[in-house]
């Protein structure tokens, strides 16, 4: 298990290197660090001077290594628009996005497991058919459209829920702006998290159902029936534990991917998180911020994937004992 963990972490670092390389490549080709530092109004001579001073005329690899060194120390450059180090900008925006992803993940995990299991155990029942029919419609619905529909129904027509923003937030631990602690904050969270979960929930239900149905056909489940143990134990211990393994590998990655979908949901709900920040930075050509977003999100994915792999290893005795996957 130790060796397995070491391997996963090493692979994660490797992936981070690749991502940072790509990120730096973009910055190197499109970004203008001088503008980030001093704005547009400088003479060509001054620019050249600053370029020299910043080491922008050094070979690509030298600059990349410097970028890496700075990145490890938490320095990803300055945002041209916010006139602040990008890490500060991102740190300010991250809580909004992470809380949104957290709530959506709760919805996805909390609903998909019981619904998926039910649909797998009783494939012929009416409720299962409803679940499956609903899930295919869900899969076919672009996330921003779901969000628009929610706004139209609950904000415009019914006027029950707010259509944009985070509402009232409270600062906790000195840096984290949380919307989870106020009634208004929670009310603002409802629609965005439903919209964000709407893309993953049907995928998870379908995944759990098909994996579980496959497991239910297996020899060891048949053998479990032949041993005369209770159906509940067969379903929830024998079948579900084995269903979990592929669901963890695929599902863990998918939960990470929700961060990508925040770009869409945040844009619809004008949610002041990293996603809308990214789209704004694209329109403003704020290269440093864009690249840092890529690197930060990449880091989130790598961390999530590594944790998922380690959890997989803990659940699967084959990995736990032999360290091989």
């Amino acid at each position: 298990m130790f060796a397995f963990t070491v391997k996963r972490i090493a692979q994660g670092i490797l992936v981070m290197l690749i991502i940072s390389f790509i990120g730096f490549g973009i910055k190197h080709n499109f970004g203008d660090p001088v503008r980030e530092l001093v704005g547009e109004r400088v003479t060509p001579e001054e620019r050249a001077q600053i370029r020299e001073k910043l080491g922008l005329n050094d070979p690509f690899m030298v600059q990349y290594v410097r970028f890496l060194k700075n990145a490890v120390q938490g320095d990803l450059g300055r945002s041209f628009f916010f006139k602040k180090p990008v890490t500060e900008v991102i740190a300010a925006k991250a809580p909004a996005t992470l809380e949104l992803v957290f709530c959506a993940s709760l919805i996805v995990v909390g609903l998909s497991i019981p619904l998926g299991i039910y649909a797998a155990i009783h494939p012929k029942k009416l409720f299962s058919r409803l679940i499956m029919g609903g899930s295919i419609i869900g899969v076919s619905m672009p996330v921003f459209l779901t969000a628009i529909l929610l706004i139209y129904i609950f904000s415009v027509e019914l006027g029950w829920l707010p259509s944009f923003g985070r509402g009232e937030t409270v600062t906790v631990f000195g840096f984290w702006d949380s919307g989870l602690l106020t009634k208004e904050g929670l009310r603002h969270l409802i629609m965005p998290s439903i919209a964000l979960s709407s893309i993953m929930l049907p995928l998870f239900i379908r995944l759990i159902r098909s994996e579980m149905m496959e497991v239910l056909e297996s020899e060891y489940v048949k053998y479990a029936w032949a041993k005369g143990i209770k159906p509940r134990r067969v379903w929830y211990v024998h079948a579900f534990k084995n269903t979990l393994l592929p669901v963890i590998t695929v599902g863990g990655v998918q939960l990470g991917i929700m961060v990508a979908f925040t770009i869409l949901t945040e844009t619809v709900f004008q949610w002041q998180g990293m996603g809308s920040m990214f789209i704004e930075s694209v329109t403003r050509a704020d290269t440093a911020l864009m690249v840092s977003y890529i690197v930060v999100v990449g880091a989130i994915f790598v961390v999530v994937n590594t944790i998922v792999d380690i959890i997989y290893g803990l659940v699967n005795p084959v990995v736990r004992v032999t360290g091989r996957k």
């Binding site: 060796a3 070491v6 391997k7 692979q11 360290g323």
Partner: protein
């Protein structure tokens, strides 16, 4: 060893085949006793096997799963390059030939596979499957001649030549195995390697295929290398039998000699385990399990389960020694006349 004996069709000389399954270097890290070590996993499938196959004979290789018999068959066919050792065909070395030079030998030696469901391309009609080798090796033939040849081999194996346009899934397992044999025969080879050709078939179908193979041997003067785990089948079809265990040859002898007077302790145990119709059980128990081919035991590979084991067996690998009456035995105990 002399190689130019015209009676000998195929010679296998000290063939070794290992597979590296350790993956990338990250996969090789192991954590042992508080230290991180790097360990490669190499499956030692075949470890120095030599024997000759005489023209017109059926030589069978038997052994339990994982003993390397299929790997040996594929190495002989050139599907795997051996790590060391040589394969000779009529005295000429063929294991190191380029594809172009090997092409001629491809028509001389062909192979029949185990799984009748996987050995035919499901997206090709039977006719196409059979035409492919003929067209490839004899491009000078005209369309009509190819068709004639295909019809001929189909008739030979008992498949109606009118069924050329059918796909493999329209045939039963036994019929597919016949088609597989027809594909091997399409090039009129001298030598056929059959890797468990009947293991996936039912008893009554097994008999049909075995009969077919024996008939073809008589008619076309074929030489077989027959791979099987089923000793009673081997006893029926072979002239010479070789017994393998964990990638090594234990014993090789003319059929009668081997079944009546097995010399190697493993052969003895194996033979006693064959269930015999209507006899009470009386088999020789082997202790323990087969060791992993990744961590072969030192010395004789069988020593962990052998009842005649002594210190020499644990440290020294027994050589293949010629015994009386065309036999080969690799056992210290037999050599020391302890058995």
């Amino acid at each position: 060893m002399t190689t130019n004996n015209p009676e000998i069709l195929v010679s296998i000389r000290n063939v070794v085949k290992h597979f590296d399954i350790s993956g990338g270097w990250l996969e090789q890290i192991k954590f042992d006793n508080g230290r991180i070590t790097r360990k490669q996993s190499i499956v030692k499938a075949v470890n120095g096997i030599s024997f000759d196959i005489k023209k017109g004979q059926t030589v069978s290789v038997v052994g339990e799963s994982g003993c390397g018999k299929s790997t040996l068959a594929r190495t002989v066919m050139g599907l795997y390059p051996p790590n060391s050792g040589e394969i000779l065909y009529q005295g000429k070395r063929i294991d190191n030939l380029s594809d172009a030079k090997l092409k001629h030998y491809r028509t001389r030696m062909q192979m029949v596979f185990q799984d009748p469901y996987a050995s035919l391309n499901p997206r090709m009609t039977v006719g196409k499957t059979l035409r492919e080798p003929i067209r490839f090796h004899r491009p000078e033939l005209k369309e009509g001649q190819v068709a004639e040849k295909v019809a001929e081999v189909m008739a030979k194996v008992g498949i109606d030549p009118d069924w050329q346009d059918r796909f493999p899934h329209e045939f039963s397992g036994g019929q597919r195995q016949r088609i597989s044999i027809a594909r091997a025969l399409a090039l009129d080879p001298d030598f056929i390697v059959a890797d468990e050709p009947i293991a996936a078939l039912d008893v009554s179908i097994q008999a049909q295929i075995l009969n077919l193979m024996m008939d073809l041997q008589e008619k076309s003067d074929l030489t077989y290398l027959f791979i099987s785990h089923d000793l009673s089948v081997v006893e029926h079809i072979s002239d010479v039998v070789a017994v393998m265990y964990l990638g090594s040859l234990c014993e090789m002898a003319p059929k009668k000699q081997l079944f009546d007077n097995p010399a190697h302790p493993y052969t003895q145990a194996l033979l006693s385990a064959i269930p015999k119709l209507g006899h009470e059980f009386s088999h020789e128990k082997l202790k323990g399990d087969i060791p992993s081919p990744i961590n072969l035991p030192a010395g004789c590979v069988f020593h962990t389960r052998c009842k005649y084991v002594n210190d020499r067996c644990r440290s020294e690998i027994p050589a293949q020694r010629a015994g009386d009456g065309n036999t080969i035995v690799a056992c210290h105990a037999v050599e020391e006349k302890r058995i």
